[in-house]
Assembly symmetry: C2
Homo-oligomer: 358 residues x 2
Amino acid sequence: MNLLTPGPTPLPPSVLKAAAEPILHHRTREFGKLFDQVLEDLKTVYRTKSTVLLMTCSGTGTMESAVVNLLSPGDKTLVHSTGSFGDRFAAIHRAYGLQPDVVAEEWGHAADPEKLRKALRSAKGWKAVYLQHTDTSTGIVNDLQTLARTVREESDALVVVDAVSGLGAEELETDAWKLDVTLSASQKGLMAPPGLGFAAVSERAWKAVETAKLPRFYYDWPRMRKSLQASETPFTPAVSLVAAQAEALRLILQEGLENVWKRTASLAAFTRGEMGRLGLKLFPKDPADILTAACFPEGVDGKALLNALREEDRICIAGGQEKLAGKILRLAHMGFIRKPDVEAGIAALARRLPKVRA
Amino acid sequence: MNLLTPGPTPLPPSVLKAAAEPILHHRTREFGKLFDQVLEDLKTVYRTKSTVLLMTCSGTGTMESAVVNLLSPGDKTLVHSTGSFGDRFAAIHRAYGLQPDVVAEEWGHAADPEKLRKALRSAKGWKAVYLQHTDTSTGIVNDLQTLARTVREESDALVVVDAVSGLGAEELETDAWKLDVTLSASQKGLMAPPGLGFAAVSERAWKAVETAKLPRFYYDWPRMRKSLQASETPFTPAVSLVAAQAEALRLILQEGLENVWKRTASLAAFTRGEMGRLGLKLFPKDPADILTAACFPEGVDGKALLNALREEDRICIAGGQEKLAGKILRLAHMGFIRKPDVEAGIAALARRLPKVRA
């Protein structure tokens, strides 16, 4: 299957091989060395000197951890949402009895810093602002640097960023942009199997953790930080995925992080051009580099087309989520997805497009 | 490394191979088929007709899920603890503001049904009783059948069981023993890499879930149950671990679950005999079949011995936890651990024992 999906993404052979190494015990020096290496390499990819935490969970788990470790009942927060993952941040807040203020952009538009500034000025006292780096549901990338600076200029709120899909593939500077909490996961830009989540946590965020009162156990960050002293996690981690992640990080750093960003950007430009050639309009106004979202023309049954691609051509391109189901396609080109894979996807798409007009 | 540890346990080659298959996308028919098969085979291993849920997390995550999905603030519960994992159940309750009543056995002793009966009679109104199947921290197995019957005879409380280490290796009957929630994880008796957790949830437990008010998002069982209709999980699962688990379950069912139980029991009897031959006293009064815990003789530096075994002989035997550190060893013989592995461990232990008397 040619996976052109925004996570899980296909894996390099050496990463698959690492996942199949005999299992290590998580309380041994051998695992500890591997674990420390992963955290060290993640810091390089995050561009941070902050503590990086590793959890066995999906990206959503890390998002929940960034709610329960930072907040207390009654805390005010702002969620600036650009799609279904921003909405998920708000839903997690509500599950814990918090009522976040939500600034929602029209799907396909990046978060508007001036809208954020206005919100920050109109109401005070937000403990944290929850943002997204890229949003795979709408195919956009946010101008995180400006957004984070706006939060700093107007408030003392912590800047919490969902970088689940973009980290390792698209420009992101945790320290230089002053992001307090930056969340990610193994299965997208980081080229490893799904099952690991990460959080880079600034000293400012650790201060907030000290007073945060929402309940937590599995996701308790202080406990994770304490375990790091012994190169361990509090609970049994997914050790084979840690081994796979170690190899994937090695590949990323061998290529050079900025080279990966450039390669991804160049593949994005190519893909956007090809979509135009096929007569498909880009969906997002502010397209990300990790994936391209494009609208199906009127009269095309998008769901049927993607099904046929998957079942007959064995090419997996994602469709739209929620209100966009059947209306857009989302073709990823991050991580181990290379130009020939994208070309094969676009060729198959071109072949099928005329056939599926209703 | 010869892993004789109570999780993660070593993996059969075909399970390692399955973990290294190209990654599947979790919203495809291909993954759905694999996922359904895993849940079906888990039902066979659980001996249940109830819904089985799969989560990407460690065993502790499943324990937390069995607190947040069943309980509301102010609920009374009973935790019958036989070691550090029972204590963890209580700690999870406390993290969520609940004050469970705890009946704690002396470490090494199984839970006493008469003590449980007395507790159930002395105070009423427990919403759930939290029990353990086997406890790897003390090496015991509980008489779950009698314990669960006692709860039913004396109360309406739900029976919640931590079967993280024993499921698939040591006798357990979810339906016949009327267990309401039975938790497990991939990396012990189930012979897969760590990173997946499971819960078999009875209809009676689902009723309780409807009114449970503790906050939850990632661990929300109703959302997981709803996703099952589409052969999916709510959030990206650890797909490569699901593939590995599918193969491990195939091996267990091919051998026959009761044959696995018998093989494990027979290996346990052998190991207990060998410990006696070495002059090592068994630690538990009620030993489990999945692992053998034995006391180091007076004057032996247990930590140094296990370190030497690990670093020089490349044999990994676990030590004691918390107050038992340095005092006991815990040698597992479940899953893919076979007699020659155990023999090698015991031989190396015998060789080193005289050398490490202080």
